[in-house]
Structure formats: structure tokens, C-alpha cells
Symmetry: D3
Subunit: 306 residues, 6 copies
């Protein structure tokens, strides 16, 4: 087969046929939990951490998918193994897990009884489109805080990675009306910095790295890598409530996320951060990360082509 | 064809083949807006109101689906017309509209450029499973207020009907741990009554009908029917912030929603409301509605079988 | 004298010499209350209402300026009378009152005792620069809701017109980074619409005019004119909490304020409101107002030149 | 010249002539940022820290004053140098920086175009009226928490030192109605301790110094001195949310601020704190500070006369 | 018997022996609901309304006291009948109902099982000490808003009359430190006016009576009398969120409560309201009430002696 | 005497006669502060800490009970000494302190003047009904988070142990409607975990013990024992805001409280925590505590009989 495979509720199917019924709870309720892992040189990075978080989310959702974490890792490796064969050597994969509550029986016409629906479980991949993020590494990203606020933990806890993201979609609409290339950075209901729709947000100030608290954010696996690298390098990593004023007056700001690991943020709401260019903390951390990953992360991104 | 048709982004497809790609924004972001209309005696009820609200939601989402409200009504009528042929005379249809932002290009492998994704537009139906709700009409529903709160309007405005409903899924988990048959009634961040996952919530007290304000709820089409029936019948309809204490001490409580129009709520958090049985305001309104609809709504539900 | 006069704490001084010490509480604390009245055909419009509100603010501030409302009106008329002589017939004046707590004694070097400082009281005018607002009447204003929120009433009550407006200055910075011509429309801490830095905000929907509640806004004198005109014209005027969704889906939106009375708002956060052009409610009200004022308000603005 | 000089937007003027136009943004909007530095033995203390914070505030305000931090320090030193000559040896100066957005063009009659207004930049001094605070050192200050709350950071971030202080003026009115000599200590919207209008607030408990978090307060330069002295003396300095209950049951409470460095607070809302008298932590810190400053801070204050 | 009787859980006991065990839930938890009714000319006023509210509170508490509303009214009348015999003709009684959850079994040593505790039900009276409130009728009451806030309805709904009043006790401590004779008026968490510890709070403005909404207050029986009198007299009665600014600038303010019916408030936080003296709205309403009650309410209070 | 004694406002009385007047502020206002100490082998444990906290609460309440901490300890020991004589060797006592504001003079008929009421001070004991909690040690407790929220510190500070607990009573009603054996765990207004009505709540995760911050909880004496044992055993003890998601995904959860010291929590809202059984951290800590207490805490509980 010359197309990727997708694991879908027990079967391996060709990517072009990977779809879910319009009655699936993922479509009807958006009540989906997900993970995004990537490969470095075609090997999955920290898969175990991602799968563990997936199962924490499933427990919080009270969903039993009748599949152990070990099985999930085997399936993930199998999907990876089959799909990396389609890659060039310099390419890498993103690997997505998602689980939905399964068939919404009223819409599906199956409300008359029978067993409760089985969750939909999917593992799929995509070739990393690094070129999409290359500008972040040239000039830095521009973060924008729209008027829309992040959903508070007493509604949906951000410690689970979920796909009910209408608020992000609405917020992006506002952000892109201000700057079509800007990245939405949501504030919480009290005006504290939280996260972007695809990344954790960090600042560097006076030699330390500062992060919002886990009350308001996904405890990201890439963020965890930053924490561990900081420990190795003797850089203090501090969690506390941060406001826009902290970002405006930071030395640097950073996005950490699975696809591109770590990127510099050089503007917030149109105001340059620090010198308005990628800074030394970014360089120090990304070099370390490249060592850990065994490839030059920035070069891979900058050399990537559509 | 002996199966229903589904309108899906420009094509009529058999229901058994109606699915969306796993890369669709409806799956990836849950950023879907929707409507639910029903038929009475195989005719769509207030379709125009539902389509108008759909377009208000689309405007709020900044989505242009390149399709006029008139076209959407024609498509809806066509889907209905083809699908009611599969019904028995005493049955009726639910008709769903949903729109997603379309392909999520990074996951789909199409991030390299090209035009922005076209929204996914779907119109489908389902035979009304009235038997599912029959108990509400026998003994009344039991509403439960879990600890999880409704998403506030500064995150996602409930005046749009959206499918980012992880909070409802989580809240239902909590509710059903208390009573597997109970209906989740979410409070807002200030402890005011809002709505259930599928219906508007109303109370009757001293001859009037009271409703939460539109700050916290979908301004439901069925709720609008109640407003109009109240005007006709000389019953005051009052909007104000309501708390659980108001419900506990109401004469009656009601759910209004497209599928079953209006149902009595006879318990909240285990406490009987009024006499703990369907009351006179419910009877007066449902009889009026049956007149308007041209069929006995309660009888249709009670006679329905799986 | 060929320059305007300014009333400043008991004296009439030429405008070019009207200044306050750098130790004045108006500079040191921004603890200033103010009013803005205008003339129509060189006569002050609703001066009595503005002066009455000024004295309500002074009472709330516990400031006794040793001057009756009648005296304040006489002084205001005298300033107007002397300054309108410098106008062309088609021009009009804005007339500003402001009161500060007077000398901040520590900075002024007078902390050693003596009586408490006397408030600084000022009445000055400026020729109305109508051309500044002409675009609102051609294409409508664009309102933008930045991430910064309005100060809540338990900190500073917006029912007083005050000059501690750093939040507006910061919010304008954010708004103008999105669109240099946009007008800041602040949300409250709960995401409700409040007001702009210079005007009340209203929407028109289904033949009614809707306004935020007075909890969150200045009860503007021009807004009061709108209320009275609505009563005369049989247009319902409704106060309730409004959100951005209401504005996006309104038929029209409006700004009411002393300098230009009433202007159409045709976009919010980049989304057109109604047809995206000045609408019928605006026209109906501004025509009525022109009758009341005895001049064509729109023509005066459109014909104005720098 | 036998009067102090004031630096005002590029010129040195005699203090008696230092004033700003009534059209200045400092008067019209209160949108002013400021700093307060003092001398010890006629030398400026930590000027660099104050100027650095001023520029952080200006960056947050998006104001470019066309003047480097170095130039600002030179100007400050020049103003100091000229004005200390008027002092007695035992006296000291306060030195104020403030920056406003400059002319408010509509009121100034300059709205017709031209360049945007240049900010107003001012550096002035005042002889320290130490006798004003002498009672704090005799009996301790009395702090009062009025019903008015501090402005939250999502409206104006307290990490900038700003002059939109109507809330403090209103709060002082309430405080002084309870006790004319009491000092206002504002709570935040959640009831946490913040700061007074002129000082940071600290408590001592079980050998440690505790402070509110920087979310709610100015990160004061004098507070920074306390942090550094605590580090030197082996006293833990802890930041966390504090409530009135913590203050009532503290061993001691303290005010830290530029003019008088550190003062004991011995009562809150009429309840004695600790023994109701200046305590050991105060003594230990003020002695240390006196060493650092090279003069006896308390003696200077107690010997000061009007 | 020459002392009053008290109804206590099924028995009539002499007042001097009316006590509850230290293990009673009323003492241990403060989880007590209560009512206060009074007599006019020795007849109970609106007893039915008070008993009905008591049973609404009991329902909200899920307490079944095995006693009908009719029985409760009979018992109340019996207590009244026996106790009014001890009064002088010009005196009147207050009649208190309270219900606690009964014995707290762990403390009582009865935790080993047995039936759940029976609620403690008490009806007692006290001679009205009108002289205590006489000053309100001479000079008006002084209301003070302390920094402590009212308990929000999502914790304890104020629509029930409850005795968990530590917040009022603490707030009174703060108020009385400011003015020993002032009456505490609590704000809610958003800074809106709520109620005093013993009365509803109302203002009069421009010929109307305004009240906070029932979200934040007990819907008082005396307040209901005001509503009915306003309806009779053609005075608009308006419910909406009120802030301190509204009170400062009201024409009059009022307390309504069972013991003294209606009293003028003439100061708030030290600021005179209106003319700082009892006003016309007060006089109009108290005269009407005196007619309804069949005695001169103010005279009875002013003539009362300790 | 063969019954326990109770210290009541200066007198020792037999327990069967220990009661308070129905006019006592403890009954009328619930404005009572309290402590609960226990014995191990008939000796009071950490009495000094409990008495110190009682006096911190009294100071916050501005109540002067004319009795030193030393006297209170003597009285406590005397009550203990007399009452332990009635115990079997394997039994232990709980010892309660409570203080109320004393007579509520209006209801008591003593409003005519005289001195302010003397506080009611009570010290009593009860034999520990360990069997009541035995199930916690067999299967673990089930915690439930109802929709009712904890009272925030700006209303009543939870750092004092108070008896205005209507919110707990109402919350228990909701919890017990879900599961009659579940323990109420209240969330704060922001959805953070606080405490149960009788215990502090802790979780164990990755070898550390985590606790909510003292903003939201009683700083329990038993919790302090846990802190000290953690320090001894090298277990990190971390304070931060926790949410239900943290509990669902904790390794273990624990209740700490005077009567039974430490108990495992094995379910929250119906979801098992960790392995759903008492865990290793619990065992390690309770063994340590048993060493400190000099008896096997679990055995004492498990062997206890009604």
C-alpha cells in the first residue's frame, strides 16, 4: 500500500478511507480527547508520556476503551512503523490519538436499547509540515490576546487535552482580524496568561523560565522536556500567574509544543518582546533539545519545503 | 432507495455512507454549529427560525458557506421529503443541520497552501425515538445540578447552538453517578440556573412562567413557542436569574426542546417540585401546542415504541 | 480679547494661560470628575442635566466645592457667551467642566499643615472638530473589544464621569494595534458590553433599541435623549446585559455622546453589523434629534472642515 | 535661583512656574505613569531601578518618549544636584518622574491633524516632609480595608505605577470616615490583601516576612530592598495570597515605601496586630536599612519638623 | 404563670426554662432556619406568609418536621395568646419560629445508630423593644458597607432566612469600629447592595422605590407590604442591581423589616442621603402602613420606653 | 458523679444539664467559634495548638472572653481528667471548645441597656465513636463534590473554625441524595478543591503529598501533623490549587482530622482514585502517627464497637 494506514476502532484502514459516521459523538458532541506525538528520525518521542496522559483524560471522562496502555502503545508503534516507510529520511511524522464516546444513538437511529455505544478509538499520522512554522524561527511568532477568554477548569479542565475548541476557533477569528499571522494566546477569566491553541506559553526573565500554573493549562509533554532541560542546565523554572505586563517586559517568550518543540515569540499585541528577535534562552534550550533528539531541530524546520 | 438520504457538502448520499474525514474540523476542533428541527405530521416546524439561527451562528463564527438561507431551506425540504417516505404515518423526523470549518489542513497533509478549507455542511434526519422520553411524561424528569458549571458567554456564547460539549459530557458523568436517569441542569459560574444539554429549563410559579435570561442560554425555538403561547393565553413570561431555591419552591418545572416540545420536571437534586407530578401549567401549554401542531403531542410520545 | 476664556478656580483666564500646577490632584491622582456639554447654534444643550450629574459625582467623591449648582450654571453660561463670539455661525462649542481635589500637599511642599486643599474647578470650551467624526457618518464606526476589561463598579462606579482612564488608554493601544481607526468597546469582567471611552453603545434589533444596564455604564445625557426620543416615537428602549453575539447579530449599532449626538457603528471586531452600513433606526433618531436641536446634525458634521 | 527647578519636556523651569496645560492627557485622562525616588544624604537611592521600572511602564503604555534611560538618569541627577542646594544637611529630597501622553488634541483645538502629540515628561523634587509620618514610628499606622476594591490587573496592571487613582481617592473617603488618620489598605476582588495607596504591605509571622503576590501589587523598589535584606539576614521572604485574618493574627505588619522606607502597622480595622506596638522584625530591618543608607532613618523622621 | 411560654419540640415550657442542648444542630452547625413575625395590637401580622416561607426553607433544607403548616399556625397562635396577656396594651410581641436539624449525634454520644435525629422546633416571643430603634425615626439610620461581603446564593441562598450569620457578626465588628451606631449593609461579591442583617434595604428616587433583586436578598414579608402599598399608591417599585453610588444619590433610603416596619436611612458611609433627614416617601408609606395596621407605628416606637 | 461534666461559662455542670438558652447568640446567629481536640490513651493531643487557634478566632471575632489561654488549658485538662474516668481503657475522648457571643438581648428581653452580653464559653467531651468511621479504613471514603460551593474568605475566613455551617448542611443534602454514605468535598467559587465538613483533604502523587492552599481551608492541626511527619520522612508536602482532575488522577487521597487522624479516600464522584483501595502513603503516614500517638490508631478504630 502506498498510502498511510489509520487505526480505527480495531481495524487498520487506508488513510483515504478513514472517516467517522456523522452520528459519532466526536462530531455530535465534540467530546473527544486526543494526543499528539511526533517522531524524531522516525522514532516516536515520549510516546509513553502521551499515552499515559490519554488514559488520565479517559479516566476523567469515565470512558473505558477496553484496551490497555500497553496495547495502545503497540498499536501506535505499528501505525508508525507502516507509515514512516512513506517518508523521506529528513521528514518526520506526527501521530494523533483520539477517542470519542462513540455512536450518538438518538441521531443514529439506535436509541431503542442495546448496549451503550463503544468509544471510537483512532490512531493516525501526518507528515510534519515544518515549513508552516518556519517563520517563527526566522522572526518569531506574534501572540495576540483576544477578548475571548479560556474555558475555566470548573467547566472543562485544561489538564486533559480535549477537542471542544469552539472558543479557540472564535478567538482565532478575532486574532486574525487583528493580524492574520498572529497566534491566539488566551487569558483566563481573571486576566492571567494561559496557553495558545496549540502550545504552552513560557517567558524568560532574568535567567529563569516562567510558566503559568497548571490550573490553567495543559501540562504539556514538551513543556515537561523544558522543565527537565532547565533542571539539567541549572535554569530556574518557576510556575506562577503571569499577566500581559510580564510578557511585554520579559526578556524572551517561547512556545513549547510537540510539532516544533520550541519557538520564539517576539511580539505580543504588537509590542516587541525583549529585543524583538529570537533570544539566547531560546537558542540554549533548542540546542540542548536537538542534542536530546539527535537532530538539528531548527535546521529540519528551516529546510522543510511544502 | 430504502434508506434515508443525507445532504453532505453539496451531494445527497445514502445515510449509511454519511461520514466525515477524521481530519474534518468538526472532529479535530469540535468547532461545529448545529440546529435540530422536527416534523409534525411529516412537515417541518419553524424551519425558517432554525435556519435563521444557524446563519446567526455562522456569522458569529465568521464562516461563509457560500449558500443562501433560501438554498438551505430548499435542501432541508428536499431531505425531509425524501426521508419521510420511509416513515409510518404516526412517526416524525428530527432534521439536523451542522456546519464545521472543513478540513484541518495540517492533519490532512494539505498544509502546503491552496485555498482555505471549505466548510462541511450537512443536513440529515433521524426518526424520532419518542419512547426514549416517555417516562418524562409519566412521572416527570429528574434534574440534577452537578458541580461542573456551564461555559460562560465570554468563552463560548450559548446563544449559538454549538457542539463543543465536553463540559456536558463530563457533567453527565457526574449526574449519572448520582442517578442514571437524571437530566443534567448546569448552573453558571454564579450559581444561576442555565439549561440542560438538550433543552431550555423553565419554572411555573404563581401563574407565571419564569426563565433564565438569554445571557446564559440558547434562545430556543421551542422556548419561543412557549413565549408566544403564554402571550396568547395571558400567562406572564418573565426572564430573570433563577437559583436552585426557586426551582425547589416552584409550582412546576418544565423542559422545552424541539424533539418532545415540552416535558414536566418533577424533581431537582432528589427534592420533589410542587406536588412531584406533572402539573396544570404543563397540561395547559402542551394542549395548546398540540392544537398548534395539529396532533396530540403527548399521545404520540406515549404510543411510540422502540 | 481674541482668544477663549477659561474659568479656573474663581478667575477668568485666557485659554493660552489655562494650566494647572504639576502638584494638582488632577495630575497626581487623576482623581478628577468631569462633564462635557455642547452647544447647538451657540446655545448650551441640557446644561442643567450635566451640572446635576457633576454634583452627583462630587457628592460621591465627598468634595465640597463651595459653589452652588446655580452658580456653576451662571459661570458656564458666561464662559460660553464670551467664547461663542469667536465662532463662525456654523460652528459650535464643547464645554468642559472638571473638578480635581486640588493641591497634593506633600509634593507641593505644603504638607506642614494649614487648611485642606481647595478643589480645582475649571470650565473651558473648545470648538467642535466635527470633521474628526465625519467618517462615522459616511461608513460607520468600527468597534473593537480588546482583551482589557472595564473597571468594575466596586472599584470606580461608571455612573460618575471620571478621568482615571489609564485602562482606556491601554485598551486603545491594543485596539489600534488591530485597526488604527477602530473605537474601543470595553467588556466588563463577565464579558458583557459596556461603553466606549467617549460614548454609550446601543444596538437596534427588531424595532427596539437595546442598551447595557446602568451597572456598567455612564447614564449618558445623550443616551437619555435617545430614551426620550424612543418614548416619543413609540420605539421600545430595553436595558439588559448584552454580549458581542448580540452586537454581531443586531440590525444596527449606535454610539450616543455629546459631541456628535449619535453615530452608526457598522462593524465589530471586523464583522459587519446588519448590512454593514448606517441603518434606518439611526436615520430616524438623528432626524428627530435634528428637529429637537434645530439644526441638521449630520450636515453640520459632514460640512465641517479642519 | 533660590527656588527648585523642574524638568518639563526638555526645559528646566522654576518650580513656581511648573504647570501643565488643562488639555494635557495627564489631566484629561489621568493616563500618567510615575516614579518616586528619594535621596539619602542628598544622593539618589536606587535611581536606576526606578528609571528601569518607568521604562517598563512606558513600554506597556506603548509610549515612546524619545529619550534613553541614560538621558533620563542624567536629567534626574541634574535636577537633584540643583535642588539639594536648597536643603539643610539633615533634609532629603523626593524626586518624582511622571510621563503623560501629551496634548489631548480635541480639547486643545489641534484635532485637525499634524503629528501625534509628544508625551509630557516631568522630573521634579520636593523636600521630604518626614514629620507627616512620624506618628507611624511612635505608635504604628492603622490600616483600614474599605468596601471599595483594588482595580484588577485585567483592567490596569498594578505592576506599573500609574496615576489613575480615583479608586484610591474614593476608598480614602470611606477609610477616613471611619478613622481620619487611618491608611487605606485595599483588598482585591477576591478579598486578598493588596497594597496601600502609597506603600507595599507586608506581615511578619513566626520569623518570616510574608507579602501578597505580584499579581496584585506594585513590585516596589523598597519592597525589593526588604527582600534583599531578608536574604542577607536569613529571614524567609514568602509571597502568597494573604487575607485580613492573616493580618489580624500576624506578629507584626509593615509598610514599605520610598519616602519613609519601612513603617510599623499596629492596627487593622481597629484590631491590634501582635502586641499593638512596633515590633522586633521592624527594628531589625530598619536598623539594617539605616546601615545601608548611611543614616539613622528613624531619627531623621522623628527629628523632622514642619 | 406570670412568664411567657415557649413551644419547644412538642411541649409548652416556661421561657426561663427554654434552652437547647449543647449538642443540638442549631448550636453545633448553626444550620437553623427561622422566621420573625410581630403583632399589631396583639394580633399576629401576616403569620401565614411567614409560616409559608418557613416551609419553603425547610423544603430547601430537606427537613421534614412532621407538622403541617396549619398546625404550626395553631401553635403560633397559642403561644401568642398566652404571652400577650403579659403585655401592656401599648406593647406588642415579636414571635420567632426556628427549626434546627436536632441532635448532633456524634457529640451527643448517640452515634451508635437509632433513628435520625428529630428536628428541634421552637416558637417563642419577646416584647418588642421599640425604644431600641427610636433614633432611626428621629435622625435616620446610618448604613455602613464594610469590606466583608454577603454570602453568595451558590453557598447559601438568601431567599431562606437562616442563622449561619458569622459573616454578619464579623461585618458588624468592622462597621462598629467605624461607627458604633451604624447598621451594616453588605455588598455582594460584585459590589451590589444586598441587605442589612435585620432588614431589607430600599431607596427612593424620582418618585419610585428601588430594591436589589431577589438573587441577593431575603424576599421580606415587610418588603412585600411595601410592594403592595406602592401598587395601591401608584408608586413604581423597581428591582435592579444597585450600587453605593445609587444610594449616595438617592432621594431617600429605607429599611423594611418586621420589628419596626419601615425606617429612614439618612447616611451611608458618612455621606448624607438626600437632605439627610427622613423624607416624604418614608412618611407616605409609614402613614399608609399605620392605616393598614390600625395603629400609629411611629408613635408606638417613639413612646416606647425601656 | 457517673456522668461527664461540662464547663459552661464558669461552672462545671453535669452533661445532662448542659444547655444554652434559646436566646444565646450561638443559636440566634450561629456566630460560634469552636475547636475539637482528642485524647490518645486519655491524654489530650496538641491541646496547646487547638487553644491557640481558638484565640486567633476570638481575636478575629473581636470577642474578649476574660480568660487567658493558660486558664483555658487548665479548664480543658480538668474536664478531661474528670471525664476520662468514665471511659474504658481502649476508649478515648473528643474535647470540644466553643464560644458564642452570649445573650442576644433583643430576643432575651434585655435590650434596655446594661452591659454588653458576656460570651458563652463551653468545654465538653464525648466518647469517640470510632466505629462510625471504620468503613473508611476498610474500603476508603467516597468524596462527592456537590454543586454548592464553599463560602469564600471575603465572607467568612475558613482559617477560623466556625459553626455557621448551613452551606455544609445544604451540601450534605445534595451529596447524600447521590450517595447516602459519601462525604461532601466542597469546591471554591473557582472550582478548586477545599475541604470536607469535618476534615482537610490531601492527595498523594508521585511520592509527594499535595494540599489546597490555606486561602480556602482550615489550617488543621492534624494537617500540621501530616506536614511534620512528611518533613521527618522526607516526603515533599506541596500547597497549591487542586482541581477534581488532580484527585481523579492522584495515586491516593486522604482525609486528615482530629477524630480519626487520617483516612483513605478511594473514590471521588464515583470514580476510583488510584487502585481504589487504601494505599501506601496512607499506610506509611498512619503507622508513623501511631508511633507518635503511642497506640495503633487503625486498630483502635477497627476494634471499636457501638
Amino acid at each position: 500500500m502506498d498510502e498511510p494506514v489509520v487505526y480505527l476502532s480495531g481495524r487498520m484502514v487506508p488513510a483515504s478511507q478513514a472517516s467517522v459516521k456523522i452520528y459519532d459523538g466526536g462530531i455530535v458532541l465534540g467530546a473527544t480527547t486526543t494526543e499528539c506525538t511526533r517522531t524524531f528520525k522516525h522514532k516516536l518521542y515520549r510516546l509513553e508520556d502521551h499515552v499515559a496522559r490519554l488514559y488520565r483524560s479517559l479516566k476523567y471522562m469515565r470512558l473505558d476503551i477496553k484496551m490497555s496502555q500497553e496495547d495502545m502503545m503497540h498499536v501506535s508503534e505499528e501505525v508508525r512503523e507502516r507509515n514512516v516507510k512513506l517518508l523521506k529520511p529528513e521528514e518526520d511524522l506526527g501521530l494523533i490519538h483520539f477517542v470519542t464516546p462513540g455512536e450518538f444513538k438518538v441521531y443514529a437511529g439506535s436509541a431503542a436499547g442495546g448496549p451503550p455505544p463503544a468509544p471510537t478509538v483512532c490512531v493516525h499520522t501526518f507528515p510534519m509540515p515544518f515549513y508552516v512554522w518556519a517563520d517563527y524561527f526566522r522572526t518569531g511568532a506574534h501572540c495576540w490576546t483576544p477578548s475571548i477568554r479560556h474555558i475555566p477548569p470548573q467547566c472543562i479542565d485544561p489538564k486533559m487535552k480535549y477537542r471542544s475548541r469552539m472558543h479557540y476557533f472564535l478567538a482565532d477569528g478575532e486574532t486574525h482580524a487583528a493580524d492574520p499571522k498572529a497566534v491566539t494566546l488566551l487569558l483566563d477569566l481573571d486576566g492571567n496568561i494561559t496557553e495558545t491553541s496549540g502550545a504552552n506559553f513560557l517567558i524568560a526573565k532574568d535567567g529563569a523560565v516562567l510558566s503559568p500554573t497548571t490550573r490553567n493549562i495543559l501540562p504539556g509533554v514538551s513543556r515537561q522536556v523544558v522543565i527537565e532541560m532547565c533542571a539539567d542546565l541549572g535554569i530556574p523554572f518557576i510556575e506562577r500567574d503571569l499577566q500581559v505586563h510580564d510578557v511585554v517586559n520579559a526578556d524572551e517568550a517561547l512556545l513549547s509544543t510537540t510539532p516544533y518543540c520550541l519557538a520564539p515569540v517576539t511580539k505580543i499585541n504588537g509590542i516587541p518582546i525583549g529585543k524583538g528577535a529570537p533570544g539566547l534562552m531560546f537558542k540554549r534550550l533548542i540546542e540542548r533539545w536537538s542534542q536530546l533528539a539527535g537532530l538539528d531541530i531548527v535546521a529540519q524546520i528551516m529546510n522543510s519545503k511544502p
